[in-house]
Symmetry: C2
Subunit: 287 residues, 2 copies
């Protein structure tokens, strides 16, 4: 930890501002920490890019958080970067790095009774099969499906729109048909993209009765508390408390950076963070 600061800094990285759902879950659990968030908005979406490109971009953001924002721990709040670039990020900086895939798979293991799990995510996350591997390592069988229309629907603001409900129904029907073809009996659905928590009400209305919905943003925040908690030296809330953070505690120290589109980040980011994102600072990572 940087010795000239009283509280540690958790650096949070995403390709855009979807990872603000992870930051929100972290703030609710670690109100005494400082946070630096960077969204690589100039180069989003990562979901359609190659492993090599994503690894290069993600390492640049990780170095920014460590070298310029003195981050003590990093959370990769981007499923695509976690799936394709966690190794590259861990090599790029000496600080501990946590992704969202392993916590999501761990939460699925805790929730599932049948051992059969559905995962919805971006193209790149699905093609990496990172969730299938992480689930398989825990004895779960996972079926993954790319849902490339959901991020644009969230960004259009259609989070409670009949078109979005219909798109979700189509995607889940295809996923359940595939599960049936393989003779699986899934009881858990993992939201493998940080945009998807904003669609949680529509998704919960669309899944079969009794199916549990796992939010990888929440799961990652829980894992961060477990992994970094004792090193943090600041209060950890065992039960997340939005009220405490919002009303009674001092405002958390949160600095947000973006590589582009500050206006869009500021306009849409509050929906993801659940509070105003404030002034977003523009940063140039090159490229």
């Amino acid at each position: 930890m940087n010795p000239d600061r009283l509280t540690p800094t958790i650096g949070v990285f995403d390709s855009g501002f979807g990872g603000l759902t992870v930051l929100r879950a972290l703030i609710e659990r670690l109100p005494g920490a400082q946070f630096a968030f960077i969204g690589d908005t100039a180069r989003l979406p990562y979901g359609s890019k190659s492993r090599r490109t994503i690894a290069r971009y993600a390492a640049q953001s990780a170095r920014f958080l460590v070298e310029e924002q003195s981050a003590d721990f990093l959370v990769i709040a981007c499923n695509t970067a976690s799936a394709l670039a966690l190794d590259a990020i861990q090599e790029a900086v000496p600080q501990p790095v946590l992704g969202v895939i392993e916590p999501g798979a761990e939460a699925a293991r805790a929730a599932s009774r049948t051992g059969d799990v559905l995962v919805i995510a971006t193209d790149a996350t699905v093609h990496s099969h990172a969730y299938a591997a992480a689930c398989g390592a825990r004895g779960l069988r996972a079926i993954e499906k790319a849902c490339p229309l959901l991020v644009p629907l969230v960004e259009e603001g259609w989070t409670n729109h009949p078109v979005t409900a219909e798109v979700i129904r189509i995607y889940l029907d295809e996923l359940n048909a595939e599960a049936a073809r393989r003779g699986l009996n899934p009881d858990t659905l993992v939201l493998g993209c940080t945009h998807y928590p904003l669609l949680r009400p529509l998704i919960e209305a669309a899944v079969p009765a009794g199916m549990k919905v796992i939010d990888s943003a929440e799961a990652a925040a829980e894992a961060a508390v477990r992994e970094f908690g004792e090193k943090i030296g600041c209060p950890v809330l065992s039960t997340p408390s939005v009220e405490r953070v919002g009303d009674n505690a001092p405002d958390p120290v949160v600095r947000c950076f973006a590589t582009d589109s500050v206006e869009k980040f500021e306009r849409l980011g509050s929906r993801f963070l659940g509070r105003p994102v404030g002034a977003v600072e523009l940063v140039d990572l090159g490229g």
Copy 2:
């Protein structure tokens, strides 16, 4: 023109592969030319990025086409880059550069009798108001609307899908309501994004009877023939002929480059080009 080559090379640039609709229209009209196409797929979509970032990216692609592919003329087959970066591209290279905005506005002027025009495009193109300015300079009144869901719907392959028809209906209803509020009587709709020609059947089914639909890709190819035609020294077809190009003439020389996602480019590109795109070469522009 590069003296060691018998035929000129037309360089075509897009942020992705949507601009292949422009390349297709060019090949149909200029079967004797050579073509080099670059899609900056590592950094797409441009539609949500700032003018500064888009100008930097576009200038890099323009230099690649001129310096490494010996392009004699450039066509910016990307509405967003044409709207935000045409000046920057013209400064970056000495060769003549043609965008898609002015040809689209010119085709609207020729088509419209009421002088009132609708334009649908990406966020960045709309926010630039480049179409409104180009239409205004021709005495037309234009109403522009961002339709950010249409590109992802095309890339999902839902070009003839009820959800896409419904999204188009919603966007056009909003646009027509805005036109009515302003007391306008539009009779022409400009497709201000190179992805939209793939939705033309659904769009034509959704517009009011008698409304003309202008394809900016076709309009840009017509303008390229007018501007570059006499310098090209190779046959120009006054009427585009898919049959001649496809069946009787030798295959045109087309080299395609992408900065990432060659697999996706090759898989989806043929839909836009109307023929197999062949092997796409990966190129690193830095960044």
